[in-house]
Amino acid sequence: MDFSANHIGFVIASYALSVVFLASLVITTLGRDRKLRAEAERLDTQRKKARA
């Protein structure tokens, strides 16, 4: 890729934007998944212990 071509900034900007949005989507999705599964696990064991 020739970095001195005109309008190169737009190419870089669009790739940067895509990376930023897709990366944050991945991070938030994985984060929410881990947090909620841990919470569900905790409540489940707590409830099973209470019922035992």
């Binding site: 737009f10 669009s14 989507l25 998944d33 569900a40």
Partner: protein, 240 residues
Amino acid sequence: MQFLANPTRFLRIANAVLPYVWAITVALFAVGLYGALVTAPPDYQQGETVRIMYVHVPAAWMALFVYTVMALASAVAAIFRHPLADVAAKTAAPIGAVFCFLSLATGSLWGKPMWGAWWVWDARLTSMFVLMLLYIGYMAIWAAIEEPHRAAMVARVVALVGFINIPIVKFSVDWWNSLHQPASVFRMGGPTIAGPMLWPLLVMGLAYALLFLALHLTAMRAEIAARKIRQIQIAEIGDR
């Protein structure tokens, strides 16, 4: 009533498949980006800016594909009353909305050097903009209705009605666009894409699709956990 018929089967499959899906996604992105940024030749007309196509077109494909997945899931939920399908539709929406936004943003970034304006009401961009509004409407319905079961039923209708409207909007916007023939007729993807320019686009498209699969399975797993939490809370409250 056990709200989710049998999430265990789905969870077992998801847990098994996810690591591989993530691995393939990363590999596809590596190959796709290499192709897009290195091997693909610059366009004789647009020069380097044509490379924006490799992030713009896959995002547009995915925006449409994910809405189709949502509509299909809603139809399955409506016909077979399978709550897991509602979860699939609900969790797909935010991912689809991000793809849609990215296609609009990269479209605008591509349009600026070509048309000199950040935003031109070109047929494709206008239809994509309306699709974005459909996504916002769908997510707003889920956020507005507290009780998940009623929200699911309403959301199915919104997804299906939205889906039927996509071709209608597409057709009318294209016709509207030809009516107001803009000064410069600009073909987004160029007349025909030759080999070395084409395969990176297909690889990037596949990479975006696999990324969606990985995100969707993870998001569904999280939503199932969230519903389980809500059920336990209700049960806990019920005991007092």
